[in-house]
Amino acid sequence: MSDLTATAPGRAAPRMAGRVKAAIILFILFALMPPLASALDDPFYVLIGTRILAYAIAALALDLILGYGAMVSFGHAAYLGFGSYAVAILSSYGINDLGLQLLFGITLSAVFALITGAISLRTQGVYFIMITLAFGQMAFFFFISLSAYGGDDGYGLSERSTLMGIDILQSDFGLYYVTLALLIAMFVLCHRIVMSRFGRVLTGIRENPTRMEAIGYSPFRYQLTAFIISGCITSVAGVLLANQAQFVSPAFMSWHRSGELIVMVVLGGVGTLTGPIGGAVAALLLEEWLGALSEHWRLWFGIFLVLMVLFSPRGITGVLERMGIVRTRQ
């Protein structure tokens, strides 16, 4: 009855169109934000915006496996950590190129995802949640004990990365637009994967793994591949976060952070790709906004979450559906 996924649709094709439209609208809004912020004389929001976009990438990546593969990873913050420590480690050797940092972060993540994914995929459901948590915590404790990079205190970065020798990222606007570009690229990537043959197999395994085996698929290979892809995309978010904060710390990879990523995905709408982007924006903006209004913002945020679940089973996507703004059912 209550399986691990909300009823994310298998009928990807006709529903997708609406979501892509919603995503395009979101991206346009994102692109307009910095000029608007400058016009309102608050360029500072660009920096907050960058953080939100980076989390959106992570939420998107998590949705790829959570929404389409029923793999609820509770250790995904580890990949944020690999991405950000890739920046720290390379920069301590004087390598500041964003491309190389991305490559290094992705490589670290791929290896970690390959090993831990192969073990975790022996389990299912809540057991999978907990075993991914275990691996996430191991990564967390590993970085805590990594004295060379400040251990628990973290490691400050003296400057942001360069992009092919150009220091476009030094300006907050530059960093913002590079992050946005990467978000769009990752969205396109995930969207195409979901629509592809591979994506259909992945979704099929979520629906009924025994049936899939009986028609000739071995679920493990597909799930593991998706798991690795998701980890790699999340590490991109980590690289960007490190640049945004100019600081890395194991706090980036604590289980709280993994939990928050899940909250963003579920809040936005599981298995919709666009939803989790919206979820990340909503969660972080709300936090920012409520935090400014009241010292007890957690209370209000909590109430918001509970009401959301009780009255809109499919998160923000569900609300929009009901208002007729997004159509996802036939």
Binding site: A13, V201, I215
Partner: protein, 249 residues
């Protein structure tokens, strides 16, 4: 045409011997029915043949290929397909998508990350024709979870057909197919005769005797009889263990 050769297959759950030294030859192109009381081990046998359950002892081969140690997906690739007694479908997919996935498993790589699978005419056409063969083409666009029970049974068959099997293992395909529709269903199965080898488990004796070339009877995990339908039907041991009097009439 490929046959199926089963030698000394056994399986126990704890102390319970569910299949006990079962040996069986299914000739190429034959429809071979397996009947027997509830809990005799028929489904277990199918699961062993399809690779879903590992056998304790014995061997299975199709054609002259020994598949005893292959996994379920590997066996499917060699042409061994099964349907499930208890409906097992992808509930959130449409009927068409359910079947198209089965087609895809046999055609080209599934490690394609780009390209819109919903638009692949090649897959959809093959899937439609499998649906049509199972009599479900008019429900192609309906989500599988909103199909009725009888429709689920047809979907089971369509999926199995779509894997393009050489040997098809059918576990009670008629269960839940209503009286009126059952006859049509049997004649549909009849048209598959000769296209591939079939192992058929069924409690519907009308269907068994209409379709089967040979019948084996499994009781408490042991094969107690194999032979032509007429012979099995009149076998007193079979009557006592399974048929009773009413159904033969």
């Amino acid at each position: 045409m490929t046959g199926l050769d089963v030698k000394n297959l056994s399986k126990s759950f704890g102390a319970l011997k569910v299949t006990d030294d079962v040996s069986l030859r299914v000739e190429p192109g034959e429809v071979h029915a397996i009947i027997g009381p509830n809990g005799a081990g028929k489904t277990t046998l199918i699961s062993q043949l399809s690779g879903q359950l590992a056998s304790d002892a014995g061997s299975v081969s199709i054609g002259d290929r020994d598949i005893t140690h292959l996994s379920m997906p590997e066996r499917v690739k060699l042409g061994l397909a099964r349907s499930f007694q208890i409906t097992s479908i992808l509930p959130g997919f449409t009927a068409l998508e359910n079947v198209a996935l089965a087609v895809q498993a046999r055609r080209g790589s599934s490690f394609r990350f780009f390209g819109n699978v919903a638009g692949e005419a090649e897959l959809n056409e093959a899937a439609m024709s499998a649906l049509a063969e199972a009599g479900l083409d008019d429900r192609a666009e309906v989500l599988a979870k909103s199909l009725s029970h009888g429709e689920h049974r047809r979907l089971e068959l369509a999926i199995a057909l779509a894997t393009d099997p050489k040997v098809l293992l059918l576990d009670e395909p008629l269960a839940g197919v209503g009286g009126e529709d059952a006859e049509a269903f049997v004649s549909r199965l009849q048209t598959f005769k000769g296209r591939f080898t079939m192992v058929l488990i069924e409690h519907d004796m009308d269907a068994v005797f209409a379709l089967a070339d040979r019948v084996s009877v499994l009781v408490y995990g042991k094969l107690i009889a194999t032979g032509k339908p007429e012979d099995v039907r009149s076998d007193p041991a079979v009557r006592a263990a399974y048929l009773g009097e009413e159904e033969v009439a």
